[in-house]
């Protein structure tokens, strides 16, 4: 830099926007990916508001049938391919090296390449709106033959396939980087049974991504060939083969977008309970069981096809309640005899436990084929998976954001606004989706742009739409909170929450290579170990000063 140039306005060490988007620092890649994914979350949310507005009452008021179909297709596609799955792995790109005491992620350039694939995929998918016939309109599942060149000849569908492939490839690349980092870059002393809870969540997430996502790439490639050359799914049974390929990805992906956020909520609970996470080994074991089972249950999405073994898929789907129950046990037992401080991150973790529970329990219902025969493809399913995706993914994400925002930015999010944000989201999620259980039970199919007035579904739909605007308001409050706290928020320091894991043993934000020095790692909560030692020493010193012998029990 020459002395003649005007002095830079930014702080030393801060990056230009271009620098941020071209940096191979895992923290920058993670942040930029997270921001991009969150932007897609906002866009997907606006699409949902459009849908809810249209469905508030019978008749077409806002959108036409064709537009509605594009909107719900892009809502689902955005939320899975461009928001939840990329975000789930991106939080690992940011946090895992910090949690395991690594200076860098493995293959940083590849991870950066992944970001550009992801961004291109998202833009190409959305470019469908610029074509004459609009964006994709075959739902996020794009079942064949609906997605073939006869039923959906439009270019938007091709853009969608390319977008899905690019975004999915990116997610797989990050998963490979994160998993390799966990395997190869752990701090001295950190065995696999000492990695933090969140890193366990990321381990199983990456395993799932790497084993399940290739099936989607295969399905998309075959679909693209089928659309342009023909002859792939045209044999009898072809549509069922497509569904198998799709759901072999499509079920594990809901766990991909669950584990990291579950683990984030668990970390927030342990830190806010000021207590070591309870049942670490049971948690790790149940996450692995979860992973194995979630790879084995895909065709419970196909109970009504009459083409799969409903008994087998019912059995393994119901078995999922075992690992899920253990996670709940561990989280409740962590609070037991803790010293709980109710921060916003803790509230979101509680919201996670409460709302995900609704999704989980109704999931047991639809794991039973005779119950699923009725509610399959109705609003009951819509309500069920929104409790897993909002209760799980979104509440877990906010728990994580409120928990780690100070680490990433150096400033703490405002607690007052945070609690308003939380309350609006809780009210919104209950009000939007509880009525949908009843609508589904009454037989309202999903993916319909309109419903006849004589069905009497208007009232519940209106309630649901009002709820959606509460969620919207909650997200707005969050955006205000971020904008405000970035400038005016309390300065965080290294460790504003009395954290347990290594990321709290460095500055906020951490330097380029993360750590100046590492504390010794003797458990899955090394920073908590240090704090306990200090407290004990102080107490021993105090007791010695008063003439008591040092206490031996621990």
């Amino acid at each position: 830099m020459t002395t003649l140039a005007a002095p830079p306005r930014r702080r030393p060490g801060a990056l230009s926007l271009l620098g941020l988007f071209g940096s191979t620092d895992h923290k920058h890649i993670g942040l930029v990916t997270g921001l991009t994914a969150f932007s897609f979350f906002l866009i997907g949310g606006l699409l949902a508001l459009l849908m809810r507005t249209e469905l508030a009452s019978s008749g077409l008021q806002v959108l036409g049938d064709d537009t509605y179909n594009q909107v719900f297709t892009m809502h689902g596609s955005t939320m899975f391919y461009l928001f939840a799955a990329p975000l789930a792995v991106a939080v690992g790109v940011y946090l895992v090296p910090l949690q395991i005491g690594a200076a860098e992620i493995v293959w940083p350039r590849l991870a950066l390449f992944g970001y550009w694939l992801f961004l291109s995929g998202g833009l190409i998918m959305y470019a469908g709106f610029l074509t004459a016939d609009g964006a994709a309109k075959a739902a996020w599942t794009a079942f064949d033959p609906l997605s073939d060149s006869v039923a959906t000849p439009e270019t938007g569908m091709d853009f969608w396939i390319i977008g899905v492939v690019l975004a999915t490839l990116a997610t797989m690349i990050w998963a490979a980087c994160v998993l390799a980092t966990i395997v190869r870059r752990r701090a001295p002393g950190m065995t696999m049974l000492r990695i933090p809870v969140f890193t366990w969540g990321m381990t199983v997430t990456c395993l799932l991504v790497l084993t399940a996502f290739p099936a989607l790439l295969v399905a998309m490639t075959l679909l693209y060939i089928d659309r342009h050359l023909g002859g792939v799914f045209t044999e009898p049974g072809g549509p069922i083969v497509y569904q198998h390929l799709f759901w072999f990805y499509g079920h594990p992906v809901v766990y991909v977008v669950f584990f990291p956020f579950l683990a984030a909520a668990l970390e927030a609970i342990a830190v806010c309970s000021r207590k070591r996470f309870f049942g670490y080994h049971a948690m790790a074991l149940s996450l692995l069981l979860f992973t194995a089972l979630s790879m084995s249950v895909w065709a419970h999405h196909m109970f009504v096809t009459g083409a799969v073994s409903n008994r087998y898929f019912s059995l393994v789907s119901t078995a999922l309640l075992v690992p899920a129950g253990i996670e709940y046990f561990d989280s409740l037992a962590t609070m037991w005899r803790g010293r709980i401080v109710v921060r916003t991150s803790f509230l979101f973790a509680l919201g996670f436990l409460m709302l995900f529970l609704i999704g989980g329990l109704t999931g047991i219902f639809i794991g039973s084929p005779p119950l699923d025969y009725h509610v399959h493809d109705t609003y009951f399913i819509v309500a069920h998976f929104h409790y897993t995706l909002i209760g799980g993914t979104v509440f877990g994400m906010f728990a994580g954001i409120y928990h780690w925002f100070p680490k990433a930015t150096g400033r703490v999010l405002d607690e007052g606004l945070g609690k308003i944000n939380w309350l609006l989201l809780v009210i919104g999620t209950l009000l939007t989706f509880i009525p949908q259980f009843f609508l589904g039970h009454q037989g309202m199919p999903r993916r319909i742009s309109d419903y006849p007035a004589y069905e009497g579904w208007g009232g519940l739909n209106t309630l649901s739409t009002i709820g959606a605007f509460f969620i919207f308001a909650g997200v707005l409050v969050f955006l205000v909170n971020v904008a405000r706290s970035l400038r005016l928020g309390r300065v965080a320091g290294d460790d504003p929450w009395d954290g347990h894991t290594l990321e709290w043993a460095t500055t906020s934000p951490p330097p380029r290579h993360n750590f100046e020095a590492l504390p010794p790692v003797r458990s899955y909560a090394p920073v908590l170990d240090l704090r306990e030692e200090r407290v004990q020493e102080r107490e021993r010193a105090g007791a010695a000063a008063r003439g008591f012998p040092p206490s031996e029990d621990r």
């Binding site: 070591r276 049942g279 609070m335 803790g338 493809d377 009395d498």
Partner: protein, 229 residues
Amino acid sequence: MVDTRQQYEDLLSIYLPIAGGVFLLILGLLLFLVLRYRSSDDRPTEGRSRAPVAEGVYGGVLTVVAAGLVYLTFSVMSEQEAGGRADTVSTGEVSSRAAPTIDIDVTAARWNWRFDYPRYGITQVGTGTDTPTLVVPVGNVRFAVTSIDVVHSFFIPQQRYKRDAFPERFNRFTLGFDRPTFIRGGGKCAEYCGLRHAYMDFDVRVLDRAAFERWARSKRAAAAGRPPA
């Protein structure tokens, strides 16, 4: 008679209280824990962080619960399968009714339904403006569902039952209708099938056996009186 509605309600009456109970229990525990252990003391606590025996026992209890639910589900599935089979060979209860089960072939298309009654040689089909009507007699009806284009799903909420309609494939199942009724829009397409998916409904008319036979005869006479369309 195959009563899918009753089977659904029976199963739900077990699943729902269990789910409700678990939900309230965990909600109660959460509230209790937060209120009981809320504290401004910021030293870390050294409470227990593992209890392998309790966790093992708890895991065992969960497994038993899961096994119980699977057993109930499998029982109902066996009942449904047995109902369908008893029906095909026309034994016992069904033959005593002296009215054999009828067959209806259902063909789904974007965005319409066709119902063929092979034994009677008649067909019910909707037009661009008229919703088709599925006319069935009281008692068991065997359906064979297929599609001529994309995947659809034949869904009658009143029966608590649906099955997908695939091209070049028949899904066969038996539904029992218990009393005469008419349900406007009582049948729906549940699998998203494109532009007019939302409007792909059909009406359901259940007639008692004699009325159904009369309807079928007059329908056939009307069809014979006119040249085929």
